[in-house]
């Protein structure tokens, strides 16, 4: 807005008289924005800061991954350890997303469609995993299921492996991704109100019919948004999973964990190859997220 107001003055100007006029106009500053040089300094600072701290690291990932050519990149990904890590990551993410999807729907229904005291407390509790360090998230499960944990002896006696196995990794991932779907759905469903559901009930629909035919179609974009963020976090989680996984090569290494191990062994191309997959996931997630946000904003407008 302000820039466009400023520009015409400069571009309108032409010739010598224009230059004089430009100087005169420059002195007559637009009170609603900063003077030209200040603007460009701010923009310059912002752009260089972001370039150094965000763009460069991203480029480094791909530069290192493809540093030795496409051939090396592809064979790095075809490595059995890499494949097993990819499989594990996908599996854990699918499980976590599925579980938190159901939870998110159930919790959002209870919170958004009914009145009860303690709603704020409940929502804050659901938000808890966000404010806990990932390492602590892993720690709590070690305290429960580790060899010296509360359930440790019982698990050992029954030969059930939670830690250093898929269940433990999944639990830790479910913990850190717990709030995503619920947080996306609750405000959406609150905003949509209960009128359509009441209408459906008055027309004879059962609770489930109402939910599947009326509520679900109305929240589909919000649901997708929550699932998207949940998935991105689930696939990329490092700290919590690192604590509970045991780093058993070929078995309990997710992609982020494998990146760590390979990097520490100086296997840079492989490490960055896998990292590049995760980076691509992040970029795709961001793109889809932006599209969905636009869709959700439109929905609110109608």
């Amino acid at each position: 807005m302000t820039m466009e107001q400023a520009l015409p003055r400069y571009t309108d100007a032409s010739g010598r008289s224009g230059r004089k006029a430009v100087t005169a106009r420059a002195l007559r500053r637009d009170p609603r924005t900063e003077p030209g040089p200040v603007r460009w300094i701010v923009i310059g600072l912002a752009v260089s800061f972001l370039s150094v701290f965000v763009v460069l690291p991203l480029i480094v990932v791909f530069a290192q991954a493809f540093g030795k050519g496409i051939g090396a990149y592809l064979s790095a990904l075809a490595d059995p350890e890499a494949l097993s890590a990819i499989r594990l990551t996908l599996c854990v993410a699918a499980l976590s997303v599925a579980l938190n999807l159901v939870f998110g729907l159930v919790a959002a229904w209870a919170i958004a469609k009914f009145e009860f005291t303690g709603k704020t407390v409940l929502i804050s509790l659901i938000d808890l995993p966000f404010s806990v360090s990932p390492v602590i998230a892993g720690l709590v499960f070690v305290l429960l299921f580790g060899a010296q944990g509360y359930f440790g002896p019982w698990l050992q006696a029954n030969n059930i492996h939670v830690l250093f196995a898929l269940p433990g990794i999944t639990l830790a991932t479910v913990f850190v991704t717990f709030p995503f779907v619920a947080r996306a759905l609750i405000p959406l469903m609150q905003e949509q109100g209960t009128q359509e559901e009441e209408a459906a009930l008055s027309l004879g629909a059962s609770g489930l019919q109402t939910f599947f035919r009326v509520t679900l179609p109305n929240i589909k974009w919000g649901l997708l948004y929550g699932v998207l963020l949940c998935n991105a976090r689930a696939m990329g989680e490092f700290g919590a999973v690192s604590v509970v996984s045991g780093h058993i090569r070929g078995e309990t290494n997710t992609m982020p964990l494998l990146v760590e191990i390979l990097y520490n062994e100086y296997q840079f191309v492989t490490a960055f190859a896998i990292a590049s997959l995760l980076a691509m996931l992040a970029l795709v997630t961001l793109v889809v997220k932006t599209l969905l946000e636009r869709r959700l904003d439109e929905g609110q407008g109608s």
Binding site: E196, E198, A199, L201, G204, V214, N218
Partner: protein
């Protein structure tokens, strides 16, 4: 289908939305629940519909207690104030919804459903909108679709919550007439909620005036207008002139002036005199029971409307009166006023 409501109580915390309400609705009646916001009319409607539950009391439809049943089981059609159309379904699917969710045993065939939906869309004269989405319709169209949707399941009772509240005046008038004729055609017991007294009086067979969770009066539109039972009904319906008066032993006084009108039986002490504006006759000074000074005159076509100051116990009371134009009232004129019809209700608000 008859509806009966007995001793209904509903509280929200300390606030009594419904305070011991009794009501009977006859078969085929078109009843208006009229009142200001907070009067409890929507609460009453929703309780009858099964969308809300009372704290005490009974609700009987056709003699059967329905409080054990939810909205879906009561076979009522409900039309929401803001339509509540299913935004992601087409108009056709909206209207068909009630028929599609019926249990398999009772459900009609797809053909029959389609026929019924077409029949309803024809009824509301919107069959050409069948493939559109609610966001593409105007307010009036949405309301008619909401009605068609409610009627699809052949409800035994039709309940409408401020059906025309969100529409502009012209559309509202059209839909009012249309609703009346529709009701005559369908002969379904119907209750609608409104805060617009003109709407209630024009459309309904019977009007129930509510305030603060209680029924103030129930009667035909004529009844409620001509014979208001309480001060609230008198002031809520139609335009009223209200004067604070003292009733002493059958004698009515405004300030220290004794008015030449009869007191109502049973009224005494501080009271209020209610007169419809068009019932207040204007004459020369000295004529009539009241006397006042004209303060401000406005002319609307054949009518002059004037503010008249009447002396009272606590200074002047300013009232608005209407007079025929040729009376030619001027600022400062002293006029005499005589109510042709009036009510006196005990108590000051």
């Amino acid at each position: 289908m008859t509806i009966e409501v007995r001793n209904l109580v509903k509280r929200f915390g300390a606030f009594a939305a419904l305070d011991d309400v009794d009501l009977r609705v006859a078969k085929g009646e078109l009843l208006a629940l009229l009142g200001p916001s907070g009067s409890g009319k929507t609460t009453l409607l929703r309780i009858i519909a099964g969308l809300d539950w009372p704290d005490a009391g009974e609700v009987l439809i056709d003699g059967q207690d329905v409080l054990t049943r939810g909205a879906g089981e009561r076979h009522v059609g409900f039309v929401f104030q803001h339509y509540a159309l299913f935004r992601h379904m087409t108009v056709f699917e909206n209207v068909a919804f009630g028929l599609r969710v019926q249990p398999r045993a009772v459900r009609k065939s797809e053909q029959e459903i389609r026929a019924r939906v077409k029949e309803l869309l024809d009824l509301v004269q919107l069959d050409w909108l069948a493939k559109r989405y609610p966001s593409q319709l105007s307010g009036g169209q949405r309301q008619r679709i909401a009605l068609a949707r409610a009627l699809a399941i052949r409800p035994r009772i039709l309940l409408l919550d401020e059906p025309f509240g969100a529409l502009d005046a012209k559309v509202r008038k059209e839909l009012r007439t249309w609703l009346r004729s529709l009701h005559r055609e369908l002969d379904v017991t119907s209750i609608f909620v409104t805060h617009d007294q003109e709407e209630a009086l024009e459309v309904a067979n019977r009007v129930v005036v509510m305030d603060k969770g209680r029924i103030e009066q129930a009667g035909t539109p004529g009844d409620v207008y001509d014979n208001p039972a309480t001060a609230f009904v008198h002031s809520f319906i139609g335009e009223s002139i209200v004067l604070p008066v003292e009733v002493d032993d059958g004698c009515v006084r405004l300030g220290d002036k004794v008015l030449n009108i009869a007191a109502e039986r049973g009224s005494s002490g501080p009271s209020r005199l209610f007169v419809r504006r068009h019932d207040m006759q204007v004459g020369p000074s000295g004529w009539g029971g009241l006397e006042g000074t004209v303060r401000r005159v406005r002319t609307f076509g054949p009518i002059q409307r004037a503010d008249v100051a009447l002396p009272g116990a606590q200074g002047e009371t300013l009232i608005e009166i209407d007079a025929p134009r040729d009376r030619d009232l001027r600022d400062g004129d002293i006029v005499g006023l005589q109510p042709r019809r009036y009510r006196i209700f005990a108590g000051r608000d």
